[in-house]
Each structure stands twice: as C-alpha cells, then as structure tokens.
C-alpha cells in the first residue's frame, strides 16, 4: 500500500470515528479522542502492539 493511500485511509478512519461518535450521541468522547490520537503515532511506530486479547476480552 502506497504511503498516500495509507495516510488517506488513516484520515478517513479517523473522520468516520468522529462522525460515528457524533451520530451515536457520544460526541463528548471526541475531545478525549483528539487528546489520545497523537499517542497512536507512537504506538504505530513502536510496532510492538500485542494483538491477542487477554483472558477477559470485554475491555479490549
């Protein structure tokens, strides 16, 4: 996947998330998402994300 295509997909996912939160009445989560979002870049760059859910999966 090309860099521009990948970046566009990240952006469209983010916009979809914001629109979805607004539509479902959880608009008040949007400021938190915006604060948390920069962390994503570090986490993605870290490339060390565990992909397996823990014992009780409801929180993940």
């Amino acid at each position: 996947m090309k860099f521009t295509q990948s970046t566009n997909t990240y952006i469209s996912t983010f916009l979809e998330l914001i629109i979805g939160l607004h539509k479902s009445g959880y608009w008040w989560l949007i400021p938190l998402i915006i604060i948390l979002l920069p962390l994503s870049f570090f986490f993605i760059l870290a490339q060390a994300v565990p992909i397996v859910a823990p014992f009780v999966y409801t929180l993940f």
Partner: protein, 566 residues
C-alpha cells in the same frame, strides 16, 4: 463474485471464501497453527481459502471483516470511563492496543493482504452471526436469535430474515449479556473462558440446580423479553483478569482454582450443582427470549447463532418448548462463523443478490493429504478398495481398538463430524474412561457423541420434529430411547442424553458406510465419535498432525484416506 470473510483478534480467527453466494472454503486459523482458539490474523486460513478457490487476493471482489472496530472502540471507551478509576489498570493497555492497531484495522488488513483499502468492508458483529445462521439455512423466512458475550455493543439480537433480506429488529447491549454470565460462572468454576463453557455444560448433567435461586437473583427480566444483569456482581466491565466479583462468591461460596479437584460425584457435587444451576437459568432465559422473538416474528422457523448457540441443551429446550417448529444453527456458531456470515451478509443484503444455498455439511476445510509428507515416519498399509478398507476398520472397532478417522476436508466449526474424528465401539462402557484418561487426558465427566446413520436415528434416539437441519452438526442434545440405552453406554452422557450426529449418506457417504457396516455386524449402527485432538490442542489438520498424534498418544490406529497406520 468472490467475497472473503475474515474474523480475528478475540477468539477463533477464521476466513471464509464465498463465490456467488456459495461457500467454497472456510477454516479456522487454529487448524493451521495448531494453537487452540488462535485469535491472530488468519493469514494461513486466508491463503488456504484463496488456494481452494484458485484465486489471487487481487481477484477477490470484496474483503469483509466480521465486526465494526470503530463502534467497538466507542463501547470500550465508554466502559472504561464509566468504571474509572477501577478500570485504570486496563485503560493504558487497551489504549495501546486500540490506538496502535485495532482502530486502524482497514490499514492493517490492506497492508497484510496487499489490497486496496476501498475493497475492505465491515459488518456488525451480530449481523455477521445472524447472516451465518439465516442464509445457509433451508428456510426462506425465519426469526433469528443471536446471543453471545459481546460484539460492538450488542450481546443479544432479535432479527428476521426473508429470502435475501435480513434485518436486526432489536438488540440488548453490554454489559447485560447471557454469554458473559455463563462465562463468568465458567471462570468461577476454574475453567478457561471461551473454552470451558462446553465443560460447564457437560458438568451440569452431574449436578442438581441447587443454586438456581442465587443465580436467578443476578438477572431481572422484563415483559418485553429484555433482561438486565446485576452488574455489581461482575468485574468484567473493568477488570481484565477476573470476571466475577465478591457478590458471586457470597452467593456461591469460594471459587474453584484451576488446580483444585472438580466436585461432581455423589457426596460432594458442589461444582456440578453450580454448573447445573447456571445451565438451568440459561435455558430459562433463552426460552423466554425465543418466546418473545416469536411474538415479534411469528415464523415457524428459527435460526440461531452466537457462542451461546453452541449450548446443545439450550438449543433442544428451545426446539421442544418454544413455538418455533424448525431450527437451524450455524455449525460454526461462535466468532469463527462470523467470517462466513460477514461474506454472506454483503453478498445478499448489501449487493442484493438472491441466490441462496443450503448448508448440508460442514466439510469446507483443507484435505487430509494436504499435509502429507513425502517420507512419512510411520509405516502404513494402503488399501485402495473402499469396501476392504471399511471391513478392516470395522474389524479393529470390534476388537475394541480406538481409531483415528481422518478423511477428506476438515470440518467448519468446533465439532468433529467424521472427518477428523476419534471413533470407537459405543457398546463398551469402559471405552469412555479409556479415551478420556489415556488418549485425550481430560476430565472424566466429559461426554462423547454418538454418530448414527440417518435411517436409524429414530430407532435409537428421541429426535424431536424440526431437528433435521441441526442434527447433522451435533447441535442438539437428545435422549436415547430407554430400551436402547444399554447398546451405547460409552456414547451417552450420565443423564442418557447425547449430542447426536445424524449422518446422511449424501453428505458423507464413506462415514455413513462405515457406521452401516458396523451396524450390520453388531446391530448397533452407531459409532462413538469425538474430536481427534489431545487436551488443550485443536483438532488435527491433516495427515502429518494425525500421525504425530498417533505417536504421542495411546490411540490404537489411524486411518487417513486409504492409509492405515498402526
């Protein structure tokens, strides 16, 4: 049109390839990695599906993931915040996981598979379950009930299906979940969540529902069929390590630690009593849901999916006691089945394609010889004549040998249905203990299933009307006829019920012939059938894994296609 369905990341990752509305291939990742309930991205299962369909990933029209990660993230954030600060322990871990990976699933799938992101679609978790139950069913219209732990928000949905249309008409949301209630008690009894629920169901038959009032007190039902859990009794909304709280301990006593003995025999059957109690309450709740669903969707037909639909005792109660006359349950009713459902949902509902199929068997996996080594370590005898092969195997069974029976493509779903099976003589009561103790190394209370030919099913079991679409997949629990109990003690549970598999000649001619020949010799056209695996491992994938199992276990012999290994 080719659609690839994917489920992953929680439990039972899987892939399914649907071509023009018909599943060509479907498999769980665990079969390839040999890691039980493997939740990782199912790259092996995807590659298998592509190979089976003789298609490259770029030729796939749509790739569908079985749930919507953004909706799920919303639920996870809300749950964490509403339980703060108790959820703080899990928050950073969850955010690391979500912000670094899960949230960007479209990128992840596009990158893993090398496809354009515009080809990737998402369906809702319970839409996928509902589609996996309705579209493969033989029904043109049906009510649909899906019940599991949790998807995005929904834990229980009512739906209706008609031709190629499917609609979720109402849903109940997290944390109110029958699946999580059952899982919490599973954890309380010292079993692993997502795996031990079947053990609890088996254990229940040994107990009396002495704790039913205590467990019932954790639930309140409304007249409209909705229910609420007493959330104060559970920790799963904020604790990633423990799903039940002190209130459960107060009601039921101390939890069982995994290393402690399981109390299920006369004298002290506390753990079996708790299992029987949660099982009874689950049955009551599911029956209420089914009755309420029938009021809203007055169809004769019911389709079931979601992890709770793997509870065969519940399924039987619904068929016997609800107004529904016919039932179909997706053989891969858990999350793995979501891969198939997601693909079918897009094909029928989003693309408005009308061509339906009816799922009559579950043999959608890889062929046994796909993992055949050029130089096998074992010595085998090859018998090309089918009748002679059958005669040879029947002879072994009559001599009380345990036989690994590996034929054709492996099964879709958690049940072994005669393609990756361990079979034995059901007449020998000692066989039960022998297989549990010496071959599978598992708890002694675990039951086995009888596989019986379709023509003889009614002569040995009390099979309810409307069960025709469920019994080929071992998805109902039925009573053995009283006068026939003595002929199959090893294949019956302690209460003389059985998770019977009815084998149709058209769906599996070889296994049908084997059971028939055994019946001709003994008068009992039944074989004890259990999955060919060791404890804690998934069922074997193919020939190589089966021969490994033969070497590691006390299995007497193995039949792979026309090869007999001793």
């Amino acid at each position: 049109m080719d659609i690839l369905g994917i489920s992953a990341f929680y439990h039972d990752a899987a892939a399914a390839l649907v071509r023009d509305g018909i599943p060509l291939a479907a498999a769980q990742e665990e079969r390839f990695t040999q890691i039980k309930n493997d939740p990782t991205f199912p790259i092996n299962a995807i590659n298998f599906c592509l190979q089976e369909g003789s298609v490259s990933i770029n030729e796939i029209d749509w790739i569908v993931f079985y749930e919507k990660p953004l909706r799920k993230f919303e639920r996870i954030l809300v749950t964490h915040l509403s339980h703060f600060p108790r959820s703080s322990k899990a928050f950073s871990r969850a955010m690391f996981l979500w912000l670094g990976d899960r949230l960007w699933l479209k990128n992840r799938i596009a990158s893993e598979l090398g496809v354009a992101p515009k080809k990737i679609l998402f369906t809702e978790h319970h839409q996928s379950h509902a589609a996996s139950a309705f579209f493969p069913s033989p029904f043109r219209d049906a009510a649909i009930l899906t019940v599991d732990g949790v998807g995005e928000w929904a834990t229980t949905t009512f739906g209706k299906g008609s031709e190629n249309h499917l609609e979720i008409i109402s849903e109940l949301h997290f944390p109110h979940s029958l699946g999580l209630l059952y899982s919490s008690i599973t954890a309380f009894l010292g079993f692993r969540v997502n795996e031990g629920e079947q053990k609890v169901m088996g254990l229940a038959a040994y107990g009396k529902p002495a704790y039913q009032d205590q467990i019932r007190s954790l639930l309140s039902f409304s007249n409209d069929g909705s229910f609420e859990l007493d959330v104060s009794a559970f920790r799963y909304p904020f604790d990633p390590e423990k799903s039940f709280g002190p209130k459960i301990t107060k009601l039921l006593g101390n939890e069982r630690k995994p290393d402690n003995p399981i109390l299920y025999q006369s004298g002290n059957s506390k753990h079996a009593d708790i299992a029987a109690s949660v099982q009874l309450v689950l049955e009551e709740c599911m029956l209420k849901l089914a009755n309420q669903l029938h009021l809203q969707v007055p169809s004769k037909n019911l389709c079931l999916a979601g992890g709770v639909a793997l509870n065969v005792v519940v399924n039987s109660k619904i068929l016997e006691q609800s107004p529904f006359e016919n039932i179909f349950i997706q053989p891969a009713a858990g999350d793995a089945g979501g891969a198939l459902g997601a693909a079918l949902y897009i094909y029928h509902v989003e693309l408005n394609e009308k061509k339906r199929f009816t799922q009559k068997h579950a043999f959608l996996g890889e062929k046994a010889e796909a993992t055949r080594s050029v130089s096998t370590r074992n010595i085998y005898e090859e018998i090309s004549d089918e009748d002679k092969l059958i005669e040879n195997v029947v002879h072994k069974l009559l001599n009380q040998k345990t036989v690994g029976w590996v034929q054709g493509k492996f099964e879709w779903g958690p049940r072994s249905l005669g393609h990756r099976s361990l079979i034995a003589d059901p007449r020998n009561v000692e066989m039960k203990q022998h297989i549990n103790q010496y071959i599978k190394h598992r708890e002694m209370f675990r039951p086995f299933a009888p596989a019986i030919t379709k023509e003889n099913a009614d002569k040995f079991f009390d099979i309810p009307k409307g069960a025709d679409s469920a019994v080929p997949f071992m998805l109902l629990s039925v009573f053995a006829l009283e006068e026939k109990i003595e002929f199959m003690p090893a294949a019956l549970h302690v209460d003389n019920t059985a998770r019977v598999q009815v084998v149709d000649k058209d769906s599996d001619p070889l296994f049908h012939k084997l059971i028939s020949r055994f019946g001709e010799q003994t008068g009992v056209p039944i074989l004890l059938n259990t999955s060919l695996n060791l404890q804690g491992q998934p069922m074997v994938r193919g020939e190589n894994q089966a021969t490994d199992l033969l070497q590691k276990s006390q299995l007497d012999c193995l039949v792979v296609e026309n090869r007999i290994y001793n």
